[in-house]
């Protein structure tokens, strides 16, 4: 019996050690709701909650755009335009398409004065061709760029924005907005409608005048 028990521990330990820890404090399986409690920013809430600026130290990495051209990522962000940034991957089926649709609609309203930046968190799969098809699907106009690169560099960027979940399956819906290169970034959490994106953008642009 003991012979069976020990290897079982070794065998399972790998995946479940952390789970055990989580369970230890609770004693039983705690029920959760059927439907995920993904935070939604009802219109107005995000604005009234106060948008805390965050420090981002953009790493010095070269990324590749959907057209195959390479660019220093820092320079891409610091070209003077306001930036609206998110993280996506093209095989993402549920949350990214919604985030990208919000970007598409926000771009229709804000036009080319804002640089829309979507960074792949699955760069090994997301070749420039993948990104091109993806951006065409969402009718991205000039001014909305999709970036890929090597795994290391994509992670470095995610970490700089404190948006690194360890893996693409752990990513959360979050958008970053910066009115100009000399201003701090502002983070908008959760699934955001284009309306919230535009309102937030206008609010922080005004505040920074």
């Amino acid at each position: 019996m003991a012979i069976g028990a020990y290897p079982l521990m070794t065998f399972y330990r790998i995946f479940y050690f952390l789970l055990l820890l989580t369970m230890a404090g609770t004693g039983r399986v705690i029920a959760s709701d059927q439907v995920s409690k993904q935070p939604l920013n009802p219109i107005g809430e995000a604005l009234s909650e106060g948008l805390a600026p965050i420090d981002v130290d953009v790493p010095n990495v070269t990324m590749t755009k959907q057209d195959g051209s390479k660019a220093l990522f820092k320079e891409e962000l610091d070209d003077g335009r306001p930036v609206m940034l998110n993280f996506v991957y093209t095989a993402c089926a549920t949350s990214c398409p919604v985030a990208s649709q919000s970007f598409a609609k926000a771009q229709q309203q804000l036009g080319d004065k804002v640089h829309f930046v979507s960074i792949s968190i699955d760069p090994e799969t997301d070749t420039p061709d993948h990104l091109k098809r993806y951006s065409e699907k969402f009718k991205a106009a000039p001014g909305w760029d999709h970036y890929t690169g090597n795994e290391k560099d994509s992670i470095a960027i995610q970490k700089a924005f404190k948006a690194f979940g360890g893996d693409k399956m752990n990513h959360r819906a979050v958008t970053f907005i910066r009115p100009s290169p000399d201003k701090p970034w502002v983070k908008v959490e959760g699934f955001t409608t284009s309306k919230i994106l535009v309102q937030t953008f206008e609010k922080i642009s005004k505040a920074s005048l």
């Binding site: 070794t10 065998f11 789970l19 059927q34 439907v35 095989a91 693409k168 399956m169 752990n170």
Partner: protein, 551 residues
Amino acid sequence: MRPILRPQYVLSLFFMMASGYAHQAVSQGPSHADLIQRGQALYLTGRLASGDLIKAKRLDLGEIKSGSDMACVKCHRPSGMGSLEGDLTIPPITGRFLFQKEEGQPVAVLDPRTARKITQPHPAYSLRSLSKVLREGVDIRGKKMSPLMPHYTLADDDVRAIMAYLDSLSATVSPGVSPTQIRFATIITPDTPPHRKDLLIKMLSSAFHQRNVSQRLHSGSMGMPMEHLPHVHREWDLAVWEVTGDPSTWQQQLIQYNQDHPAFAIFSGTSEGTWEPIQDFCERGRIPCLFPSLIAPPQQTGSHSFNFSKGLALEAAVLSKFAAMRDREGPTHWIQVHKTDVPGQLASKTFIKSSEGQPRTITDIEWDGSLKNLQDQLQTNAMNMADSSLILWLSSEELEALHLDQWQTLPKGIYLSGHLTHGHPPQLPETMAASVHVISPYEVGLKRSKQTDTLRSWLKTWDLPLSDEAFQSEVFFDLLMLTDLSSQMLDNLYRDYLIERTEDMLSWGTNVSVYPRLSLSREQHYASQGAYVTKLDSKGQLVPESDWMVP
């Protein structure tokens, strides 16, 4: 068995009570089979009976007509068992979860990373309450659902059709599952060397034995958190399906095996030649085929097949990219030696194809196995040899037979395959070591030995040899994954669900394989997508001379 009030009866009853000409309406309405079919079209493609695409609204994105993007299957998946992405959990919506009375509802794990997120019992959904979900995004308890759940414009008949389809979806467990047992099969092709076959069977049967014994002895007392969730304890049964003879006959042999004793899923297995007929079998039979150990895997996977990587084709493409980055100063000459078998053809053809557009000439030498012939052919190229790079798509044993150390002229560089040399540095005379490079699809150095620590201690526990680490780590990975998936699935043993869980899960958990990183998605069924180009250091160990390169 407790009788279950099927929703279609509830529906007809509702219909009869609600309408004065109930009898007529029931007999003239669409048949149940028609309803299911209409529901299926809606579920899978977002198409209404009229042929129009479904209309739905999400967030403030306006009326969207893009049917397939708004189809239920996008989030709830072909099995109807839901999905997981980031912190977003999408619940199962099959009839067993929605329409049964509370006490009869099964349990599913919504997010295995926390094990607390499981489905909760709720009152059975009716036409009315389901309509409210679909049209307004409000659940049966009156709670607003996730903003990602679209609000659909649907007629009552459409909702009825969806109900009928959901009720038929994942209604019974898949073949290979009995009340007491679940059968997994592994497939071995005739080209597999005996020691490899032996190793595979020993590892699999030890693990199956371990799993069955420990479950019997310890279930309920010292299992892991997910083991506490209510589910039937089923023994694991291992079937070894050995195919023989010509590959064109394999599919028929497998169909026969599966007819006699169906397997829930195929996992692991090995071949040193073609795997195409086996993949065909899996795709046609819609049976999950998880991560066989291959050097020449099919270059396109179907929806039911998963591979570790693209094998030798990946190596060839990475080498081509590496060479293109390095040889910027002008044309280069390459000689590649390969056998006429499937792996040899795959490697050489991929290298030639990915060299297109490069200032590179390639002399392609097909080796028929005769040493004399090869030496003659190399002799013909001897003049070029010193200015050429040589790729030897050969195994360690074949390399040894070549007696590279006796060659008079050595090429500029010799490139060897990581797959074919099994991830071990080749034994070479010191004078040659400096010019040898290995394309490694595996992690190297300390990192690799850390990742394979668990494998080594497991093998020790079971008194099994470690003779082919890369291969054995793949088998071990498969075993852990299967253990993991089956405990996540509880009693929801549907093949499609297994595939969906596989697509979602690989990205988390500790990596026990020789690969630096394994990651999948719905469109990505090759878990590792790159390789290093490495060279030998003074101790004869492989060290990367390139970044992790993805072709």
